[in-house]
Subunit: 490 residues, 2 copies
């Protein structure tokens, strides 16, 4: 079975040249084993120390000895284990530079090869993107580990078909490509020539002549969306064949051709700090924010509720003796609330129940988007949660070239362990404080900022647990933070 | 059959005291006949003149003779017929003040009656709301006419169960009401006492004890949402029994207890002009803005597509000879675009097709929310459009008491005939220009502003049709506009 994994990875990395750690190379004996991110260069002993729940040490790439290496763009990073529930840190992180090479056509003729060689000689071959991602795992470390090792390669794979199109920034993408028949998923080679060899439709009806112009930006968004889907399908295969457990929220940032694409599926978050202001770059996907989508699916496909759940929402559980009474409810179409007469069916457990961090889908899971979870079921039942969870990210685009960025302008990515205890404003103030107290040419300042954010959200261990400086409860969750500088990359 | 309509209306208006024209009273011989809004007080001859496509006269409530009556709040209104497609103006409008009275309990005891009489003696009985609405009809005038005559009564009906709760502004709504068993739809009387007679659940599990607090605002939103649903169901009944045709977009504004609720289902729009700034108060629902919802339904319930349509979107129609080629597409989960290999199935007509004003659902209709359309089918087929159209409005809330409003601060409601040709900014500039050129105590100034907006968006009839002052094409559509002043009502 391991061969199958190797083959999948080899196929995936075929078109990518990764500057990441050797462990990710196409020739390595790749394994989906738990470890902390390779860019931390931890020894076995350091890995052990990192798992000490009593001290919860903060790990950064800049700590320690001569192996120390700054991350590209001097990206700051810090992480910390949660307060004791799990033996492992279920967060994972990735920082990669990926060079996308166009897919080689299958069965090309000698003439094609000569033409291709000429073309290659005349232009730069690959298209490079920068990549940062956080994966917040749950119910096991497996999905987060796989995703951290492979999601960027899936993005690369999706981009391979459109490298030539993206490079020709001035020409809109053609609606149709000439192609050897083959699936779009990439397992059959295609010959995308982007000459836009469109022939006018023969049908004379004017509605047939309508043609939408698609921008390059939307091709990249589509590539990232499909990469998440491919990643999720691969995790499903690995879960089936290797019994890998769990799911994970995924927050990925791609910098390509002057624009930053923030793709989010879950409750991690990204904010931009520009000139002291905070600008959210992602939305969270939780049972509360996605209630109507979940209820609509339950309403349209009631068999997914397994006769145990109702798609209606009530402000609290209902008891048998309340049948016949009027109680507040709302269904998939409502934002507001109204009263209805309680019937037998309303006694079922609500599909979406609880408030804030306690809100759950089917009393089981507190996030509604992410990768994995294919084998997640409602406790003591055969009801699958996955149909309600979506692997599709929301992708927001930030055009870096449209703004002038100062030396303290950064993007902060954090798992919910960070955002649950400190606000956007507090994060910005802390980052600005640290950055302005470092020399602007100190390449370590962004890691110091990330470290400070993790420390602030963990707090200090007191008698009654981890406490923040204002004595509020500190975060007991895993915490991972990237601080990405924008100055000089625009 | 007419008796059934009368019965329905009598039941509906039972709890409402309407200050509107006599034609809408509970005792009148109500008919769903086409006419211009009653508040215009048009004679038969004036109605005839209004239907002159060559002159397209602008109608306002303040024109003409001694019957002239200003609308409550000095609301401005103006309307105009489209350029010649239809014999009728398919827009309709309503302006009402409705007093909501609590529903009388059925089978009440003598003791109940005495208690109730005491209560009534101690407090004001009804709760008043102001109401403005525009209905933009299509495929017939029927749905717009019915909705203009009845939607406010459905809102009233939904509010009757919660009058007492809303009046006690400081007490949160109870989750459960004591009730004689009965449906929530209002056809069986209920006895809502809002004493919050909640008993703690006997179940000891903590998840059962969770309780969400619902605000009064969300009860009102729920009432409006359900009123739209009830209105739509009534139109369905009337369409079945009376063969009434058509559907309509609905934009309704309710002013209740210091807040303005803007409920929108369709492509009419509301904006607030405050201190010279424009603030949108509604979103449009079109095949483009609701593409993903429509595609998701088509994906989950493919039988609704009748084997004629595909839920996938393509940038143009595909031809048979293009099978096997790579073409751009996107599905319900995607915001971006990607290439896929074209298969036989992709030759079906796309569920959502076209751009901007030309975008259509199933090549038939250009809006995706509204009332009616129960008998609308794809041309020459048995495929119903309605499952894809939603009657549920998006309700936005504007807390009038939170701002100080000047004498020129207004809300502008317009059908798409207005917004298709002039921008929010142009609307605001025109309104501000007219208002600032009138004496502030001229009660007619808001109607002058509405009239000016209609005139600007129609333009002047030249050789090549109706033209705006900048020679752009004027609106050939029906146009209806309300200008609602906010000063003095906060």
């Amino acid at each position: 079975m391991m061969n199958r994994v190797k083959a999948a990875v080899a196929q995936l990395v075929g078109g990518a040249v990764s500057n990441s750690s050797p462990g990710n190379g196409p020739e390595s004996s790749f394994k989906f084993q738990y470890s902390r991110p390779a860019f931390l260069h931890l020894s076995w002993e350091e890995n052990e120390r990192a798992a000490d729940h009593s001290s919860r040490p903060i790990l950064t790439p800049s700590e320690g000895d001569s192996r120390t290496k700054l991350l590209p763009w001097d990206t700051g990073y810090a992480e910390m284990l949660e307060a004791g529930k799990s033996a492992f840190n279920e967060d994972q992180a990735a920082r990669e530079i990926v060079c996308v090479e166009r897919r080689s056509p299958k069965n090309r003729t000698v003439a094609d090869a000569v033409k291709e060689d000429e073309r290659v000689a005349n232009e730069k071959q690959g298209l490079e993107f920068h990549y940062w991602a956080l994966f917040d795992g749950h119910a096991g470390t497996g999905a987060a580990v796989i995703a951290a090792k492979l999601l960027h390669l899936h993005i690369c794979d999706q981009l391979r078909d459109i490298v030539d199109i993206l490079r020709d920034g001035d020409i809109p993408p053609p609606i149709s490509l000439t192609s050897n028949a083959g699936a779009v998923t990439g397992d059959v080679a295609k010959t995308p020539t982007h000459q836009g060899d469109w022939e006018p439709p023969t049908d004379s009806e004017s509605r047939f002549l309508l043609e939408k112009e698609i921008s390059h930006e939307y091709l990249i968004i589509g590539a990232i969306e499909n990469a998440f889907r491919q990643m999720d399908e691969q995790i499903e295969r690995e879960q089936r064949s290797h019994g890998i457990l769990g799911g994970c929220c995924a927050l990925a940032v791609v910098y390509l051709l002057g624009k930053i694409y923030v793709a989010n599926a879950g409750d991690s978050r990204a904010i931009l700090i520009r000139n002291g202001e905070t600008i959210p770059l992602s939305n969270e996907f939780t049972p509360e924010s996605e209630r109507q989508r979940l209820q609509y699916l339950g309403y349209l496909q009631p068999h997914l509720l397994g006769n145990e759940f109702t798609h209606l929402e009530f402000p609290r559980r209902i008891q048998h003796r309340e049948i016949g009474r009027m109680m507040l409810y709302r269904d998939y179409s409502m934002t507001g609330w109204a009263y209805k007469t309680i019937e037998e069916d309303d006694l079922k457990f609500p599909l979406v129940y609880g408030e804030g961090k306690k809100a759950r889908v089917m009393a089981t899971i507190g996030v509604t988007r992410g990768l994995g979870d294919h084998n997640l079921k409602v406790h003591c039942s055969n009801i699958h949660i996955k149909p309600f969870l979506s692997c599709i990210p929301e992708v927001k685009v930030y055009d870096v070239t449209k703004y002038e960025h100062g030396v303290d302008d950064v993007i902060v990515l954090g798992t919910d362990g960070l955002w649950d205890v400190i606000s956007d404003r507090e994060v910005a103030d802390a980052v600005i404080h640290i950055l302005s107290n470092c020399e602007p040419d100190n390449p370590n300042r962004f890691t110091l900022a990330a470290q400070d954010l993790v420390m602030r959200s963990r707090g200090i261990l007191k008698e009654h647990g981890w406490r923040l400086s204002n004595d509020r409860l500190g975060s007991g969750d895993d915490i991972s933070v990237f601080v990405i500088p924008l100055y000089g990359h625009t």
